[in-house]
Amino acid sequence: MPYNEPHPAEVRIISKRFGLPNSASIDTYLANEGYQALDKALGMTPDAIIDELKVSNLRGRGGAGFPTGLKWSFVPRTSPKPKYVMVNADESEPGTCKDRLLMEFDPHQLLEGMMIGAYVIGAQRGYIYIRGEYRYLIEIMDRAIEEAYARGYLGDKLHGTDFTFHVRTHTGAGAYECGEESALLESFEGKRGIPRIRPPFPAVAGAYASPTLLNNVETFSSVPAVLRMGGPAYAELGVPRNGGTRMLCLSGHVNTPGVYEVPLGFPMMRVVNELGGGMRAGKKLKAVVPGGSSCPLLKAEECDIPMDYDSLAKAKSMLGSGGMIVMDEDTDMVRVALRIMRFYQHESCGWCIPCREGTTWLKKLLTRFVDGMGQPNDIVMIGDLAKNMLGRTFCPLGDAAAMPTIAIIEKFRDEFEAYLADGPKPRREELVYA
């Protein structure tokens, strides 16, 4: 069984097989609409599949929310170079734990999405880059891959056509930065996970400088449903420009945290009150991180909002990777800001100076604040430093560190001022981190 009970308010499209006996096996998959989308795809032209994806309004589930059909159309299919399908299964944005379930309970759905991608761009090889900590998922995916070979879904000249496709898993070894697409490709090539300057984008020059179709686990896992249902029906599940459903990873101060699948545009407060069973211990809501720790948090009064890419962008935040972290009235936002910065400082690859130095100095300033040694002009300095990191790095890690910091310091300035007024706090050695 998955880790939490399903909720009646969910719309289970890509998680519908979760909880079936042996849900990861190919037999269960085949008995439940598995590989039907592939059959359909093989009878379509690549352009028709891309059009279907465009109509579906499926957008990237990894964080940026880029329209999937458009991304697929960028891969130069006539290039003489070999082409690759790459799955980003390096799930490590704090608050996010959905790709884990998609691979654990429905690995064939992911493989089917990859196969459709391979057929569209003409790739013969695909890889699943799985974070090193998820060792058991490498075993599950390897088993699923073996089953797919045994049943003729992977291999040479499949289904009596020229379609040839091989898939392997690949492991990372502990680096948040490798979830960023270009750093992931560097890491895949056996190098330090340092981002590449773009353009060229991975669609044109990805793995081994060849055209590469790179998407998140959840995005690939959604593709079979799009083809099975048809683009318009899939789009219809969500709201305009935000098609389908997505997995929300609910964590923090709610009664029933868990991973839930909801249509795009589902109201945030219903997530908290219905899926989450309300606030823990009857406390009041203080803030919500909508989609992973890099997303600017929303104050309680801003949380009456539909969960889709555009509504959250309008509220100057992001739907991100679906990692929704709920905080109650007792949460110390200064310490939250420090914890977030400690993470990004630890994970900055050090390649771009604004990120390497910015995260380091922000961590120092925030640590000083938490110790009660903050200076009055630190509040302004933290904001200035963070704003100066925005848009000045090769990859979005610098922005990811700066955005939540700017939001916290603007929205909870009073808490920083209270720390100033309180003065020095006894420093607890065990809480002094590296």
Partner: protein
């Protein structure tokens, strides 16, 4: 260096996973799978991996030092990783961390004198909805309380005996 038959087979398979001439891609998987068996990334292992994938040992070393899961010194037999990132912090991850440090008398990236248990404060391990979470080697433990942690640490000791 001689590898165990299982690791040798794994290395052979890894080399065939990537297109001809792209064997450097096998570097990180080789290091991680070998480390699981050997206990750390030793100088001999670096030499061996470099030889297999056709790079200089220095290139392997350069990559190895980037990744937090790869380590040159052995950790404890049981490597206890406690997440204190935001979701875990909100639900008691920091208390678990303090509790473990106190109980074991060790700190971040340190091991007990008998080499049985090592501790590491880790960043998000992808168990946010079942926080606070910890990993012992590769095994996840969800919704951990200080009591559950005590039981777990005790059971590691019993296992070892």
């Amino acid at each position: 260096m001689t590898l165990s038959p299982a690791l040798e087979a794994k290395f052979q398979k890894l080399l065939t996973n990537y297109p001809e001439g792209r064997q450097r891609s096998a570097m990180i998987p080789m290091l991680l799978f070998a480390q699981d068996e050997i206990g750390s990334v030793t100088p001999e292992l670096i030499q061996e991996v470099a030889k297999r994938i056709g790079t200089q040992p220095l290139q392997v070393e350069e990559v190895m030092t980037y990744y937090s899961m790869l380590h040159a010194k052995p950790w404890g037999k049981y490597h206890v990783q406690i997440c204190t990132n935001v979701s875990c912090m909100l639900t008691g991850g920091e208390q678990l961390w303090e509790h473990a440090c106190e109980k074991l008398g060790i700190g971040h990236r340190q091991a007990t004198p008998d080499g049985l248990i090592s501790l590491e404060e880790v960043e998000c391990i992808g168990a946010c909805s079942w926080a606070p979470a910890i990993q012992v080697n590769y095994d996840f433990h969800h919704k951990v309380t200080p009591e559950k942690l005590d039981q777990l640490l005790d059971s590691l000791r019993t296992h070892a005996v």
